[in-house]
């Protein structure tokens, strides 16, 4: 692509380490690409070097290279030491990179030590290395030899402690061992559940190590933070859309038992698939797949019989509709009257008023009034279900925010999130949605009015505050 021509000098970072420590997993999390490479609990999964570019604001800033795990560093170091000794005997002194380069020319680099050779070759071709450590492992001679080999490549090396959240992690032992080797900058980064500012810390440390590339890393940090904020905003908005859809839903039902049961069944289904749609949208927003979450079934809706025909909000919106819509329409009609020379003053004005939205509101209200008189009832979704929907979705949102793209076990959605979902005040936006059945997309298409959008926006803001407080 054109990007590589534009930015030839993207900083190259090699991900190296012992086998099975989570290099490919780290790659997945940093690239936000859950399908990069192959991740498996068995050792020596990755056998090649594979790269990916990190892009921010349309600019490729960093190139990351996943490498095979090192498996036999003890024997390799022995061989390279022998090479150096042999060279010294013939009066040649090989420094670190030269000794590595000499080794890479040997047939063993294509044979027994092919995996290690790939790592060292990539290390020499990179500006820095991330040394991924499984912090649960004890610090063994093989790890020290790995660090010695990588050290001979003379590239800055930043150790990354993976699996630090595990109770078996030996973090102090690793820090101590690394410090003894002169590696004082160490990062904790759990690839499956990275800390909130994990990436920022990682890129920040890399910027210190590679000062020439500091602007690129800072750009990357800023862009990733901006993206995270934007994603969160969009996520909350998606949840608000769902809640308004469900809250606004209103079904007129004959007061007969069998019809009632089928109506409730219908609503149940719609609400569930609406929740699924919201889950799907959230997953796609965070670039996860459907198998990343196990959806727990929503409890059944009992339905809510509501007599809010005369509730203040219904009446208020009626007034606004009639006032605003009709006034605009009437004005348009007046214009027509004036145009045709005042012939029909009055007629066009009246038509205009009805066209301006007053008519629909009137008819709608009339329908409901008639239904009421005819003994029909109106079915809406319980407050408790709305609360549960909100909690589950917010739960999922924060899980997705904290989830690395290396995670393999699906997130389990709670069937009954917590005890408090039955109580508490619902935000006022829900109440206003209740008065607008036409805002619900649950059965067919909704009216996308600016007023609906404003209410969705207000609810999203409210939910955003909630989620932030919880986090």
């Amino acid at each position: 692509m054109a990007m590589s021509d534009k930015m030839p000098s993207a900083v190259r970072i090699a991900l190296v380490g012992h086998t099975n420590t989570g290099k490919t997993s780290l790659m997945r999390t940093l690239t936000r690409d859950g399908r990069f490479g192959e991740v498996s609990s068995r050792p020596s999964t990755t056998r090649h070097v594979e790269g990916a570019r990190l892009i921010a604001d349309n600019e490729a800033l960093v190139e990351l290279y996943d490498t095979p795990g090192m498996e036999d560093p003890v024997a390799l170091l022995e061989q390279i030491d022998a090479l150096v000794d042999a060279a010294r005997q013939s009066g040649e002194s090989l420094d670190g990179p030269a000794s590595i380069a000499r080794f890479l020319e040997l047939p063993e680099a294509e044979g027994r030590f092919e995996q290690e050779a790939k790592v060292l070759r990539q290390m020499l071709a990179s500006d820095a290395g991330l040394f991924v450590v499984d912090a649960r492992d004890p610090v063994l001679a093989k790890h020290r030899d790995e660090l010695a080999l990588l050290g001979r490549c003379a590239r800055p090396l930043l150790p990354i402690l993976n699996f630090v959240r595990d109770p078996e992690a030996n973090e102090p032992a690793w820090r101590d061992a690394l410090a003894r080797l002169g590696l004082h900058a160490v990062i904790r980064f759990d690839t499956v559940a990275p800390e909130r500012d994990g990436e920022r810390v990682l890129y920040g440390k890399l910027a210190t190590l590679l000062d020439a590339y500091r602007p690129a890393f800072e750009k990357l940090i800023a862009s990733r933070e901006r993206e995270a904020l934007a994603r969160r905003g969009a996520g909350v908005h998606l949840i608000a859309e769902m809640l308004i859809d469900v809250a606004a839903c209103r079904l007129r039902v004959e007061a007969d038992a069998s019809e009632l049961a089928s109506a409730i069944e219908g609503v149940n289904q719609r609400v569930r698939s609406r929740e699924q749609a919201c889950v799907d949208a959230l997953l796609s927003l965070y670039r996860f797949g459907r198998d990343d979450v196990e959806t727990g079934l929503l409890p059944l809706i009992e339905g809510r019989w509501e007599d809010d025909l005369f509730n203040p909000e219904t009446l208020r919106t009626m007034g606004v509709k009639l006032g605003g819509g009709a006034a605009a329409g009437a004005a348009a009609g007046l214009g027509l009257d004036l145009m045709v020379g005042g012939l029909s003053l009055g007629v066009a004005t009246a038509i205009g008023a009805l066209a301006g939205g007053g008519w629909q509101t009137l008819r709608h209200y009339g329908d409901r009034l008639r239904g009421k008189l005819a003994g029909h009832q109106e079915l809406t979704v319980d407050d408790a279900i709305l609360r549960l929907l909100a909690l589950r979705a917010l739960d999922l949102l924060s899980a997705l925010e904290a989830r690395g793209h290396a995670a393999m076990t699906p997130f389990k959605q709670a069937a009954e999130a917590s005890a408090d979902w039955r109580e508490g005040l619902l935000p006022p936006s829900i109440a206003s949605a209740r008065a607008h059945p036409e805002w619900s997309g649950l059965f067919g298409t909704m009216a996308l009015e600016p007023e609906r959008e404003a209410v969705v926006g207000a609810l999203a803001t409210e939910l955003g505050k909630l989620g932030a407080a919880g986090a």
């Binding site: 990069f36 570019r53 892009i55 993206e227 214009g335 145009m339 996308l448």
Partner: protein
């Protein structure tokens, strides 16, 4: 992507299309867009460019692009109808105001009839614009939009219409569009009136008069001269004071006086009607066009944010840069064992430092020590080779990943003993997923499952006594 026939959408229209797609998806849920996303990524560019490409591909598929072309037609048709109506009603206005010539024309009334409504409308428009308001752009413009909406009956057209209005209104541009149409309609109406007057003045003979009950003749003379000043600058005739005074008293038959009155009326309509509306129309139109071209999508809307990661992925794969050549499977290298007769030996391979060593071994069993670094490996191998034991127990940490290095060492050591068993320390832990990998790795070295022990007691018993 198919070739887009004639007149592909311009930048504004593509943004409008993107807004329509956004509305569509808000109502109907996300569209299947794999190919659209692919096309958009291929096209590259800024986020907005990519959104536009996606919208174009989706719009084509969903028929919105065709609807957009139709919409152009509806707008033109709507404008044409309104324009014709305006011209005709302007003409009719001239006819109504001047009459059929049987009665003298009251000049002041005539001028009021010709310009009054227009000036009143202009005043309302100015007030509306200064107060702001989303759609404050003049009633006529709204009428035109309403007409276009009437013409566009299909669901796609309705969607497009809504998207357009909202999109323009979001930048306060809708009122300028409406204003431009309103001014255009008035311009045409006044032109119609002007042409109508010229025709009537050419083909009919009119007498001009003015009337008053309480005002003085001087007032009218001043009014006529004042209003006529500007048209006079353009070279049109203005009735002089005598003519004005005379017209108030009775009918003036003089041909000069009639021409002067006619020219004065035409001049006033031109200068106070046609010209200002024309200028305003041109101004609004230019302003609207300029602003519209600079109007960009609000990419902070959730409808777009949801797309950002897919259209502008945080990363892009480079691919394999150093492929794997080791097609040769790591063959199961069955070792030949030395016929050992030495004392049974236990060796700890890569054990955790916190693990106590040696375990409680029976007397007569040799502790081969911990083996971890290069020297320890060499020593241990040398000792084993010097006196191969009859039974060798290798203790390995089952919580580590079995790697090629460790397995190689185990292979080499086990070759130095007549019989070798592996004790997987902590291998009994139920949640240890790595046990299976150890089994596989050891099987590759030729170990049978029976030669792998995970219980300490069992392992030490075998070491002391062998298989009983």
């Amino acid at each position: 992507m198919k070739q887009i026939p004639d007149h592909s959408p311009d930048r504004f229209e593509r943004r409008w299309l993107a807004e329509s797609i956004r509305l569509l998806e808000a109502g109907r849920g996300p569209l299947a867009d794999a190919d659209a996303v692919r096309a958009s990524r291929r096209a590259g560019g800024e986020f907005e460019d990519r959104v536009l490409v996606r919208a174009l591909v989706l719009g084509e598929r969903e028929g919105l692009l065709d609807a957009l072309r139709d919409w152009r037609g509806f707008e033109r048709l709507g404008l044409l109808i309104v324009a014709l109506l305006a011209l005709l009603s302007g003409f009719g206005m001239a006819l109504g105001v001047l009459g059929d010539g049987t009665r003298p024309v009251n000049v002041v009334w005539a001028l009021g009839g010709l310009l009054g409504l227009h000036l009143f409308g202009l005043l309302i428009w100015l007030i509306g614009m200064s107060l702001g308001g989303r759609d404050a752009g003049g009633l006529l413009g709204k009428g035109w939009q309403w007409l276009a909406r009437r013409l566009a009956r299909s669901a796609s057209s309705i969607l497009l219409g809504r998207a357009r209005t909202d999109f323009l209104a979001s930048a306060g541009l809708n009122r300028w569009a409406l204003a431009a149409v309103t001014h255009l309609v008035w311009l045409l109406a006044l032109l119609g009136a002007f042409v109508g007057m010229v025709l009537l003045f050419m083909l009919r003979g009119y007498q001009f008069t003015w009337e008053t009950t309480i005002l003085s003749g001087d007032f009218f003379a001043g009014l006529v001269a004042g209003l006529g000043w500007l048209p006079g600058m353009l070279g049109l005739e203005v009735p002089d004071v005598q003519t004005v005074q005379a017209s108030g008293v009775g009918i003036v038959a003089s041909e000069d006086a009639r021409r002067a009155w006619a020219q004065w009326l035409l001049g006033c309509v031109l200068v106070y009607g046609v010209v200002p509306r024309g200028l305003l129309w041109a101004g609004c139109q230019t302003w609207f066009r300029r602003k519209r071209a600079a109007l960009t999508l609000d990419l902070g809307l959730p409808g777009y944010l949801v797309l950002s990661d897919r259209l502008m992925p945080a990363s892009e794969r480079i691919g394999v840069t150093d492929p794997d050549h080791s097609a040769s499977a790591r063959g199961s290298s069955r070792q030949t064992h030395l016929p050992g007769v030495g004392a049974p030996t236990i060796v700890g391979i890569e054990l955790r430092p916190e693990r106590a060593w040696p375990p409680a071994i029976a007397s007569g069993v040799i502790d081969g020590g911990r083996v971890d670094d290069r020297l320890q490996r060499k020593d241990a191998l040398a000792r084993l080779a010097a006196m191969p034991p009859a039974r060798l127990l290798l203790a390995c940490d089952a919580r580590l990943s079995p790697d090629r290095g460790s397995l190689g060492l185990i292979g080499e050591m086990s070759a130095c003993a007549a019989d070798c068993r592996i004790w997987l320390v902590d291998g009994a832990a139920p949640d240890n997923a790595r046990l299976g990998h150890w089994m596989e790795g050891l099987a590759g070295l030729g170990f049978e499952p029976g030669q792998i022990i995970s219980g300490e007691e069992q392992a030490l018993k075998w070491l002391a006594h062998g298989d009983e």
